[in-house]
Every structure is written in structure tokens, then in C-alpha cells.
């Protein structure tokens, strides 16, 4: 097995740790953003459930609310 890919002429530790750190930060930011988005979407859905049918109809007239509710039903 060719170990030069990992050792990188003695700089492996530096190169791999820099890439690993970048990956970890990006992955953490992705997970955190996704988690908070999912939570907000489910909270929004719960709030909508409490509304009357008339209020839901009014809500669906708005472009954004309609889009949120549609994408949630697609996700189910």
C-alpha cells in the first residue's frame, strides 16, 4: 500500500488536520442549520393546526405560507 498519500512527504498531519477541521466545521454548520430549520417548520405546522379552517385559508393565500405548508406535506 502506498503510504505517501497519507504521509504527504512528512506534512500529512498538517494537511489532513486542516482538511478534517474544514470538513468538521462545515458539517457542524450544516447539521445545526438543518436542525433549527426542521424545528421551526414543525413548530410552524403545530401553530397552524391550532388555527380555524378560515384562518388556514387566509394563510394559504400568502405565497410563503403556501410554499411552507406545501413543502411540509411533500416531505411527509
Amino acid at each position: 500500500m502506498n503510504l505517501s498519500i497519507f504521509t504527504m512527504g512528512g506534512y500529512g498531519l498538517y494537511v489532513w488536520s486542516a482538511f478534517a477541521f474544514t470538513f468538521l466545521v462545515c458539517f457542524f454548520l450544516f447539521l445545526k442549520s438543518r436542525k433549527s430549520l426542521k424545528k421551526l417548520e414543525s413548530d410552524f405546522k403545530d401553530e397552524v393546526k391550532k388555527l380555524s379552517a378560515e384562518q388556514v385559508d387566509t394563510l394559504k393565500k400568502g405565497k410563503i405560507s403556501k410554499e411552507i405548508l406545501t413543502s411540509q406535506s411533500k416531505a411527509k
Binding site: 498519500i5 506534512y11 498538517y14 494537511v15 482538511f19 462545515c26 442549520s33 397552524v48 405565497k63 411552507i68
Partner: protein, 235 residues
Amino acid sequence: MLNFLSPGNLFVFFNKINKLITKILLPLAIVSLVFSLFLSPPDYIQGDSVRIMYVHVPSSWIALACFSLIGFLTIFNFLFKFKNSILIYKSLAPIGMSFCLISIVTGAIWGQPTWGTFWAWDARLTSMLILLVFYILFIFSYKFIQNQNLSSKICATLAALGIVNIFIVKYSVDFWSTLHQTSSVKILGDTSIDKSMLVPLTLMLLVFLVYCALIFLMKYRAEIIRMKKKGLKRL
């Protein structure tokens, strides 16, 4: 033009491009990693440690670009009360902060084999650290200050000061004698970097930009839902 930039239109548009972004991110990342870790040649002086450049340099560019955009949007909002700019800068700030952190840490890791030290208080490194502090203060000021008017004033002040710091970051290597090298890639001038290294650098920048777009879309969507949730009480 401003009608297209309304939260409603942007929300629908961003939802449409979200799927496309998710599809291209992974293949693009794999290709870029292969180029930057295996196919690009080692530097004749720095050896393989030069590969850190492929994450360090695009991160720095994105950190600077994000703050420049935030600065512009904050001042624009302060002057013209363009509400959507608040949603956009709130979505951009965590991305810029993360890339600023990546830039500082990968720079320190690169510094050890190249300069013999992880950190030196030279103009470029210190001004980047100050940029990170600006990002943190900016995020804190819109997250923890409940008074919208006061928060927007503080954000505008921080953004204006931060923009001055951006110029210091950019020209620090020209104004002062620093450990950090001068720019190798110039938009308006000769680029002194070889094509064999410029290709992976450009690819990695593209991956980071696509990733930023993905996170931005999630953050923007979250901000819109947060705003809509407040509006539900008024129905």
C-alpha cells in the same frame, strides 16, 4: 427589480434551486478533493503542505466577501429600511463566521511547517482575528438585543467598522512587512500561481460557494418561517 427581491418571491425561487444545489454539491466536492489532495503537484519549496492552500485561501475569500456583503446590506437597511436585507444578513453572518474560523485555524496549521510557528501577531493574522471578533459581535447584537431599532443601529455601526477592517485585511500585506505572503491571485492583474494549482483552487472555491448557497438557503428559509410564525398570532 425590488419586487423580485421581496421575501415571498425569493423564498419561492430559493426553494426551486435548493434541490439542484444539493445534487451538485457532493460530486463537485469529490472531484475537488481528488484534485487538491492527489492530482495537484507539491510546491518546490513548501512540498505537500501547500495543499492546505486549497481550503485556507477560498475560506478567507468567502469570509471577506460575506462581511463585505453584510456591511453593504446593513448600511442599506439602515438608510432605506429594506426589510429583506435583515433576513439576508442574518442568514449570511454564521456562514461568514464559520469560514473566518476555518481560515484562521487552517492558516495556523499551515504556519507551523512553513514559518515554524502556529501564530504571530502580524498585520494579516491579527486583522483576520479582528474580523472574527466583528462576526461574533455582529451575530450577538442581532440575536440578543430585543429592541429592533437599537439592534439595527449597533449592527450598522459594527458593519461600518468591519468594512474598514476588511480593507486593512486586504492591504495589510502591502502596507506592512508581514510573515504572510502577498496575494498570488489577482482579479485585476497578473496571477502568479501555476495553472496546475489554480484549477484545484478554483474548484474548491466553487465547492465552498455551492455549500454556502445551500446553508444560506436553509438559514433564509428558517428566518422567513420565524417571521411568518410571529405573523400567525395576528391572524
